[in-house]
């Protein structure tokens, strides 16, 4: 799920950036620092959308670096248990398959793949129904349901299932 939230961060800026463009420098450094990162609490920071305010800088003893508390708005993406996501398959093996929904990695173990789909090894390992009508392989697009998340301080990993109504392949690259 996406959220638009306000986060705060203490930015350390080298004295060489001080001057007329201090604010711009601060913002571009902020974007570079936070966009694409993941915190277990808020999820993946997708984009900074605005600056709420920049507090007074504090000069660090000895280094000359200045720390600015920056409040910024950003879009974050955090997966939840029970959420339905559409993801692209990145790897298939006999244990199941891995897929990505944006920055989130999801593993679907083989017992959460419908029973009528069997693993086929080879150059392009895949899961296929007995009649061959449905195939899951690398780059397939699947709709899956998150059934568990592992949230670490800097990482979120999900496991999902396609063993439910309306889940499974939504676009098979082989047939396009």
């Amino acid at each position: 799920m996406f959220f638009h939230i306000v986060l705060e961060r203490n930015m350390q800026l080298h004295p060489r950036y001080f001057g007329r463009n201090l604010r711009d420098n601060l913002v571009s450094k902020l974007m570079k620092d936070v966009e694409g990162t993941c915190s277990g609490r808020h999820g993946f920071v997708v984009a900074v959308t605005g600056i709420e305010n920049i507090g007074k800088g504090l000069i660090r003893d000895g280094t000359g670096f200045v720390t600015f508390p920056v409040k910024y708005q950003c879009v974050v993406f955090r997966p939840f248990k029970g959420e339905i996501l559409e993801a692209v398959v990145t790897m298939v093996n006999k244990m199941g398959f891995f897929a990505e929904a944006g920055p989130v990695q999801i593993f679907v173990s083989n017992h959460l793949i419908p029973d009528d789909m069997e693993f086929q090894s080879g150059d392009m390992p895949n899961y296929t129904t007995s009649d061959g009508s449905v195939k899951i392989q690398k780059d397939s697009e699947v709709r899956l349901k998150i059934i568990g998340t592992r949230v670490d301080a800097t990482e979120i990993f999900c496991i999902g299932t396609i063993k439910d109504d309306f889940l499974g392949v939504i676009n098979d690259p082989a047939t396009v």
Binding site: N93, F98, S109, N110, H111, I159, T161
Partner: protein
């Protein structure tokens, strides 16, 4: 038609809402405040009614209005009933309270001067059968689904174990276990190939305490599933019985009310005789002037009936005397009655739809403009009542199928009685419209086509007056 649905409601009430309390769960339940079972009583009462004013219902059930409202609000959230709240004139309230001869909550002010334009908000409620059917099915589906999911470990973590060092992993570790040399998961400590733990419960019977707990839980789930199948079987049977039956629908409050009052008018001037509920409906929310006006309509109705034949006379009396098919269904008679009316119109509408396609098209365009036009509703309702009379006259106890047949070959009728046939067609138009709920506007067409211009034009005029009255009052 409605009886199977009522049974469904009663079964569902006992299955799902039996232990419902309207108070918070943390509250201590003494004998007096224990109001479990209220939900069942309320639902049962609603199966014997159509649209009902909530104050009346509370009075009938000897419940406090607040308590009833809480229950009703719950059912509204459960999508089992539809409610309507409306500000009405004191007049309407006065008529009603006079009928019940009781002074209750907000009605006292209304009892004084008739000319008061004070408004009271009244709430009405009605079972929503179509939705109830879906709600119950969805509920059963979810129950089964949940139990089965748990039983099949559908949403549990796949576990992996290292045969070398015995280290355990689960699917959440998958990312770390992937190796790029082969398609297996590898142990982080010893790089051994991990094995999938298959059905641990079945494999080791006398495992550790955790496993025992899991097994017990599994047994319990199985047990629950079985019990559910067995205990809810009557409900499921009833669902399948109801499946192919047309859903009884009363429409929104206004449409229903219009129909109800039209039915009362059609039954003759003597509204108080016969079914008391029906007379209530007639009074309900219908401002006073209506009654004066109805007399015109009643006359027209009677003469019309006479023109057709003496049978209509007997018919109007049968309504009061309660014909056998009414008596059998006991308390539900009004519902039955109207349910059948609706059925008839529906069937007729479909059978003659080809003949009236042209007008239908025109109608649909008009319909958008005149949406929820009360005047038209009343005309429709009136024609519906007329139709009902005619049908009853012709085949009092026959079912809708024969009615449909009659309507389907109007050629046989044209020679015999022209008036009846024409008016029937008009109602057929109405029938098709009603299925699509509050689309109005066909009434105008209807009376233009018919022979009944003079009288029919009077009706909308009256309605206009009433409309104004209603708005300001």
């Amino acid at each position: 038609m409605i009886e199977p649905y009522n049974k469904l409601v009663k079964l569902a009430a006992r299955a799902f809402y039996d232990d419902l309390t309207s108070k918070g769960d943390n509250q201590l339940k003494t004998g007096r405040s224990d109001n479990r079972g209220i939900a069942v009583v309320v639902l049962d009462a609603l199966t014997r009614r159509q649209w009902v004013r909530e104050e009346d219902l509370a009075k009938d059930l000897k419940l406090h209005t607040k308590q009833l409202r809480r229950t009703l609000r719950f059912f509204e959230e459960e999508k089992i009933i539809t409610r309507d709240h409306r500000r009405e004139t004191a007049k309407g309230a006065k008529i009603y309270s006079a009928a019940v001869a009781a002074t209750a909550d907000g009605h006292q002010a209304a009892k004084e001067g008739e000319e008061k334009v004070k408004l009271h908000t009244h709430s009405y409620c009605c079972l929503d059968y179509a939705q109830i059917y879906d709600v119950i099915r969805y509920r059963l589906h979810r129950m089964k689904h949940k139990l089965k999911d748990e039983l099949e470990n559908k949403n549990t973590l796949q576990e992996y174990i290292c045969p070398n060092c015995g280290k355990r992993y689960n699917a959440l570790d998958a990312l770390r276990l992937v190796s790029f040399e082969d398609e297996d998961f590898h142990c982080e400590s010893c790089d051994g190939k991990l094995e999938v733990e298959i059905d641990k419960i079945a494999a080791q019977d006398g495992g550790d305490g955790d496993d025992n707990a899991r097994r017990r839980r599994r047994e319990k789930l199985k047990d629950m599933l079985q019990k559910m199948e067995a205990q809810l079987k009557p409900l499921m049977d009833q669902l399948s019985r109801v499946k192919d039956l047309p859903v009884p629908e009363f429409g929104n409050l206004q449409a229903w009310e219009a129909r109800a009052s039209a039915a009362v008018r059609a039954a003759g001037g003597d509204i108080n005789a016969g079914d008391s509920k029906m007379s209530q409906l007639g009074y309900n929310g219908v401002p006073l002037p209506y009654r004066g006006d109805t007399k015109v309509v009643v006359d027209f109705n009677n003469t019309e009936g006479e023109g057709e034949g003496f049978k209509s006379e007997t018919d109007s009396t049968t309504l009061k005397v309660l014909p056998p098919w009414m008596i059998t269904s006991g308390m539900n008679l009004t519902k039955e009655q109207r349910g059948e009316v609706k059925e008839e119109t529906k069937l007729d509408g479909t059978s003659t739809s080809t003949a009236t396609q042209d007008t239908d098209d025109k109608k649909s365009t008009i319909a958008h403009a005149h949406n929820k036009n009360i005047q038209d509703e009343y005309i429709k309702a009136y024609y519906a009542a007329l139709l009902k009379q005619q049908h009853e006259m012709e085949e009092a106890t026959k079912n809708q199928l024969s009615n449909a047949l009659v309507a389907a070959n109007p050629s046989s009728n044209t020679s015999n009685r022209q008036v009846g046939n024409k008016s029937k067609r008009e109602e057929d138009d109405d029938g098709t419209e009603w299925e699509e709920a509050p689309i109005a506007g066909n009434g105008n067409e209807g009376y233009k086509v018919g022979d009944l211009n003079v009288e029919a034009e009077k009706v909308p005029a009256d309605d206009e007056d009433d409309d104004v009255d209603w708005e300001e009052g």
